[in-house]
């Protein structure tokens, strides 16, 4: 059931592992998380058993496959927080994350499906806090509307996930347009109509932004 302790894979095993991850990344990215495990195996040129030996469940496979994207997310947030202009930082977060999700359908699904109370990203709380801080600073600077809540950001990401196009290029283009509209909606502006109340999306956030 579990790999025993040698901790050092044989060269062919390591090779297969990489090929599986590559195939998974490609298929998840293009078709979402619903691709059959066998399809991934076939595409990687291995048998189903080999796939299951390396990654006992799709969850495990996806987690490994999306490690890069997760790191990218973290980097985006860190960069944004480092920006001296918090509003610019927040805009960057929205634009970059939307684009990341637009380019990788599977990551988008995995990222969002795991949202309410997912035990899978350990530093989720840290990231949430960081973005909340960024948003607060943007509000203080008068660039972000004062009734913005963090749930709005999640709302935008969920919505962005709903945008599906055939070609990746069109997808990214549409997503960019969408991000632009979202930013527009978030920008503080003299004659602003009040928004409908926000639905609670992030499980337990005492003061979300």
């Amino acid at each position: 059931m579990v790999d025993r302790l040698p901790h050092t894979l044989r060269s062919d095993a390591l090779d297969n592992r990489e090929r599986i991850l590559d195939a998974a990344r490609a298929l998840f990215s293009a078709d979402g998380l619903d691709v059959p495990m066998r399809e991934i195996a076939r595409c990687a040129g291995v048998g189903p058993a080999t796939l299951y030996r390396h990654f006992p469940t799709k969850q495990v496979l996806a987690t490994e496959a999306f490690a890069d994207q997760l790191r990218a997310c973290r980097t985006i947030v860190d960069d944004a927080c480092a920006d001296p202009d918090p509003w610019r930082g927040l805009c960057l977060v929205i634009e970059k994350i939307c684009e990341l999700h637009a380019r990788d359908r599977g990551f988008s699904e995995a990222f969002m499906s795991a949202f309410p109370g997912a035990p899978d990203v350990a530093d989720r709380e840290y990231t949430v806090k960081a973005v909340a801080g960024l948003a607060q600073r943007a509000k203080d600077a008068g660039h972000l509307r004062s009734d913005f809540v963090l749930d709005d950001l999640i709302l935008i990401l969920m919505a962005n996930k709903g945008i599906h196009m055939r070609s990746t290029d069109t997808q990214v283009m549409a997503s960019r347009r969408f991000a632009g509209l979202a930013i527009q909606a978030f920008e503080a502006c003299p004659q602003q109509a009040p928004l409908p109340p926000a639905a609670r999306l992030v499980s337990a956030a005492p003061d979300s932004a």
Copy 2:
């Protein structure tokens, strides 16, 4: 294969037909279009054969099941076009259609999946023209940003479809918030940053709004 000409169903047949439609409406609405046909049959208290006899394909069933919603859509658009204030009309379209989709996941899927070049709604072109006219009037009145295109509306509807919550109430609430943000984004406003270019979503529209 096809029902022969008597044109008058037996009372039990008619009854079953209604029960099937009711079940389909309920299940589609709650769980989307992916519910198995057998589940609908089971829920309606009939055998699979009866279901298939009345509705040979899921497409046919869905079309009949969503007739009400489609009429509601049409009514919303007509009402909006009749509104003396075109901006108010456009806002109503966005709010009402988003809510309609939020309340009925299956309808939302059916409506949007059938979008690029669907041969299924005959008066699609009429509706598109009507909304385009409404948008143009809203622009002329100076309430709708001048770089708005009809594709933006489709974009919003696709995005709205991406918002999924457990309870319908939360779903509607989130969707309302989203519609509010969308309207905010569309509103003409002095210091407006230019949006990224729109991706073509509606197949052949020479001058979309």
